[in-house]
C-alpha cells in the first residue's frame, strides 16, 4: 500500500493514521526537539499535539505533489511558535559553533561576507523578528533545504532563497550603521 492510499484510508478511518504516525514520529520529534532547545518532555507534548492536529485535519489534506512530511513540518512549525508564544519565561536555544560557521560560509558564497564574531551574529539574529529568525533557524541551524522550507511556508523555492539572503543582507547592512 503506498502513502497516498494510507492517507485516503486514514481520512475514512483514523485508526489507519497510526501507520503515518509510526513513520513520521521520529522525524517530527527531532525537528521539534532542535527547535525547542533540547527539552525532551516538552518536545514529547508538542509532537503529540502536532499529530493530534494532523489527525483532526487530515480531511483537509490534499496531495499537491509535496511530500506528506512537509505538511507535518508546517503543523509542527506552527505548534512550536504557539508554544513560544505561550511560555512566559524566555527560553534559551543553543546553537553549535559549526552552524554559525556554515551560515558565514554560505553568506560569503552569496557575496554577503559576515566578518563578525559569533556573539555579534547571535545578537543580530536575536534582534530579527520571529518570521525572519525562523527562516534563518530552519536553513542554518536545522540544516533544511530551501525546498523543504519553501514547502513549509507554501512559497516557491526561489523566493525562499531570496528571502533568506535578503535577511542576511539586511543584517550585514545594519552592522555598518
Amino acid at each position: 500500500m503506498d502513502e497516498a492510499e494510507i492517507i485516503e484510508k486514514a481520512k475514512l478511518d483514523r485508526k489507519h493514521f497510526g501507520i503515518l504516525y509510526d513513520k513520521y514520529f521520529t522525524l517530527i520529534f527531532r525537528f521539534v526537539f532542535k527547535r525547542l532547545g533540547c527539552d525532551e518532555q516538552t518536545t514529547g507534548d508538542v509532537t503529540q499535539q502536532t499529530f493530534l492536529k494532523a489527525m483532526l485535519n487530515i480531511d483537509k489534506y490534499t496531495d499537491r505533489g509535496l511530500p506528506f512530511s512537509s505538511w507535518l513540518y508546517r503543523i509542527a512549525h506552527n505548534e512550536v511558535n504557539l508554544h513560544f508564544r505561550d511560555v512566559k519565561k524566555k527560553k534559551e536555544i543553543g546553537i553549535d559553533a559549526s552552524d554559525l560557521h556554515n551560515l558565514k560560509n554560505e553568506s560569503s558564497e552569496e557575496n554577503i561576507p559576515i566578518s563578525k564574531s559569533n556573539e555579534e551574529l547571535i545578537k543580530a539574529i536575536n534582534n530579527l523578528d520571529l518570521e525572519n529568525s525562523n527562516l534563518i533557524e530552519l536553513r542554518f541551524f536545522l540544516k533544511m533545504s530551501f525546498k523543504e522550507i519553501a514547502d513549509i511556508y507554501n512559497i516557491s523555492e526561489a523566493s525562499c532563497k531570496m528571502k533568506t539572503y535578503r535577511i542576511l543582507e539586511k543584517m550585514n547592512k545594519n552592522w555598518g550603521k
Binding site: 497510526g18 504516525y21 521520529t26 493530534l52 513560544f84 524566555k90 536555544i93 559553533a97 559569533n118 536575536n126
Partner: protein, 67 residues
C-alpha cells in the same frame, strides 16, 4: 519567547530512537482524538435543563390531549 545562545562546550546530541520511542504512543493520541471529536454521552436524567424541557413537553401533551 526564545533567545539564541552559542553552545560553547559541546555539540547538542539528538535523542536516540529508544528515548524517542518512550514518547511514541498512538493509543494515547487516539484517545485524545476521541476526547476532542466525540460528544460525551450524558444521560437525560443527568442534564437538568433537558430533563425539565422534556417534562414540560410531556405535561403539555397530557393537558392538550385530555381536553
Amino acid at each position: 519567547m526564545r533567545e539564541f545562545k552559542e553552545n560553547k562546550d559541546k555539540n547538542t546530541e539528538l535523542p536516540s530512537d529508544s528515548v524517542i520511542n518512550k514518547y511514541k504512543d498512538f493509543s494515547r493520541l487516539h484517545a485524545n482524538y476521541d476526547k476532542v471529536t466525540k460528544r460525551p454521552k450524558k444521560p437525560i436524567y443527568k442534564d437538568p435543563k433537558l430533563f425539565i424541557l422534556l417534562l414540560l413537553i410531556l405535561l403539555l401533551c397530557i393537558v392538550f390531549f385530555s381536553e
